[in-house]
Amino acid sequence: MSWQRVRGHDALITSFQRVASRGRLAHAYLFVGPSGIGKRLFALELAKALLCEGQHDQFEGCDHCPGCALLEAGTHPDFLLMQKPPEDMEFRIALMREILDRIYLKPARGRGKVAILDDADDLNDEAANAFLKTLEEPPPGSLLVLLGTSTDRQLPTIVSRCQVVRFAPLSETLVDKVLAEQGIDDPTQRQRLAALSEGCPGTALALSDPALWEFRRDLIRCLATQPLQGVEFSRKWMEFLEEAGKESKLQRRRAALCLQLLVSLLQDALRCSVGSTPRVASAEETEVLVAVVHRIGTDPLLRLIERTLQADEQVERYLQLVLILEALMDALTQGLEPAHR
């Protein structure tokens, strides 16, 4: 039933079911793993299993009872999913207070309480510290789940109060299957997305946006041109990001996806240079990449990959997008010049 929606984390599901059947669920979990891997979905199903009012022995939501219906609609009084507002850079204490206010009310439907704290990576110190006392000893019957990408992003005092659950990447076959279920019919495209996703179906789905692949074509065309039109392309790139929406979160998300595409292109070029086969690039695209390799050699390629990853980090650190792109394109223009050898 409801756990089936979670893909590729069967071992975790079994272990949670086993722990729950013995009544030994912890009161606080920290789920870590790359974004798009299925942490939130897992946490929602866990909440559903806990709050389900149906008549069955399984630790699983039945999807029919009023409890499950309210949880799906996000109006279950004993359930709270708190996310950082898109315009904020940090998870602030005001949000934390809202979580605490709710968790310190007695359960309304009598089956316990669940609070999921999404974007736990962005908890600021003030909010994290306000949480410590509750995290250590939540009110009876409550379960707290924090979702983040890595334990390194948390204060040690937070990590030590939670049971850490690590989410492993899905196999490419499984990602391929998820994509097929989500209505992506072209097997070649599916295979490319799965190769790009690094085992995160959410990333693969985000990358399936046709506009991104249009952008990728432009990017390849730009790399093929000699000399590289860096200034012009960074302007075009920025326009593309702005098309994602007014909110900076959407633009940053798209910027990260674009950079991922660029890294994959450079990685494929690197593979060509050492005589391996590219993972994502088509035959036609490979020709362009081989030409680039011939022009500049392997070492500069490695540097460019590193430079692009650096840009990705800058996106995450909320540097101005225009500046990141201009600087990156500048580095690319210089790095791809034959004279640079």
């Binding site: 219906a69 609609a73 109006t75 968790i103 310190y104 009310l105 007695k106």
Partner: protein
């Protein structure tokens, strides 16, 4: 559902229900009112997931039973603006239509199963309290609750119902208000052995619903929730987690000095003295002796104030410091012509103010 309704009746009911609609950002569906029409009755409910209201609409004829989500804000506007008195209401999970002569409004709606139900009040164990008594008791305690505290168990009012007594207690750790009244128990309803704390928000909503004198309120406390039945509605709230401090232990056991203070003049004196306090030093010194009470305050930058009023006390001189707002908040909810008695031991032990036999207010002095 389909119903033929009386505009004013529906408007009054919707206005009452909408008091529970959250003002903050929540799931859009909670900004609405849920209606259930069944067996000749139409019930409206609204909730913010912490508290809720449930009430029956009067003057409504049900043509087709069912459940529906009514968009509160727009429906209220329609009911206010419409000229005629009889309207047709038709709603399902996708739309809500209001028709009158020469007008028709269609609004998108939502799935009623996504809206949590508010429990009904059909208890045989409950307490009955006069509305006016309860209103006064709430006013005299609710201001003393802790707001935004890390001590969550104090963010509400403790209810003690046993036999024919009702006690409400509120504290934020620095002062404590205790109001007492009479109530009538039905079916052995009692809170003995429990410490049910009703959130401040629910107490305020209840107080607003007690404006008409002469009504009797029924209260039922369950382990996790409380239900109030007023004349028109049922108010529901979840209780606060945690243990409320043992308030009986903080009342001083020793006998000290006793001073009688008239509420009105005393409040005036405190307010005057408090003018010279500032954010850094919220402190007024109260000095009793020589049949006089002298209030002294000195702010960092503000200046100095000295206010005197006559009292009947001629014993040993006693000085005690208070945060004046703690006193003003309490004096404000008492009738100005009433009298207070103050029990003092010294400048370092909590001072106990009493008004009649039903109200006690304990304040920690500043040291």
């Amino acid at each position: 559902m389909k119903a033929f309704c009386h505009r004013e009746g529906l408007l009054a009911a919707c206005q009452l229900a909408s008091a529970a609609i959250p003002s903050r950002d929540v799931k859009p569906i909670l900004k609405n009112i849920k209606a259930i029409a069944d067996q000749g009755r139409c019930t409206l409910m609204a909730t913010d997931l912490e508290l809720g209201i449930r009430l029956d609409v009067l003057g409504l004829t049900i043509q087709e039973p069912g459940e529906a989500i009514l968009p509160a804000q727009r429906l209220l506007a329609i009911l206010r603006e419409a000229q005629e008195n009889d309207l047709n209401l038709e709603a399902d999970s996708s739309s809500c239509v209001v028709r009158g002569q020469g007008m028709e409004f269609e609004m998108p709606s939502d799935d009623p199963s996504h809206f949590p139900d508010i429990p009904t009040f059909n208890e045989d164990k409950y307490h009955e309290i006069a509305g006016s008594t309860l209103r006064e008791m709430i006013r005299r305690t609710v201001f003393a609750t802790a707001d935004e505290s890390t001590r969550y168990s104090m963010t509400g009012v403790l209810w003690e119902l046993d036999g024919d007594t009702i006690k409400l207690v509120a504290t934020d750790g620095r002062r404590l208000a205790l109001a007492q009244g009479t109530a009538k128990a039905h079916g052995d309803h009692t809170t003995r052995g429990q410490t049910p704390v009703v959130p401040t928000k629910a107490m305020q909503l209840l107080e607003r619903n007690l404006q008409d004198d002469g009504q009797t309120i029924r209260v039922c406390l369950r382990p996790n929730e409380v239900l109030f039945r007023t004349e028109l509605a049922v108010i529901y709230s979840r209780l606060v987690e945690g243990r409320f401090p043992d308030y009986r232990a903080v009342f001083p056991k020793k006998q000290g000095i006793k001073v009688t203070l008239p509420v009105g003049p005393f409040q005036a004196a405190v307010r005057q003295a408090a003018i010279m306090t500032d954010d850094d030093s919220k402190r007024v010194t109260f000095s009793f002796g020589n049949d006089r009470l002298t209030l002294l305050a000195q702010g960092q930058t503000a200046g100095r104030s000295k206010v005197e009023m006559p009292v009947t006390y001629d014993g040993k001189k006693v000085d005690i410091n208070f945060n004046p707002s703690f006193l003003i908040e309490m004096l404000r909810v008492l009738p100005p012509d009433a009298e207070l008695t103050l029990d003092l031991i010294d400048g370092a032990t909590p001072a106990l103010f009493r008004s009649g036999s039903n109200y006690s207010y304990l304040v920690m002095p500043l040291t």
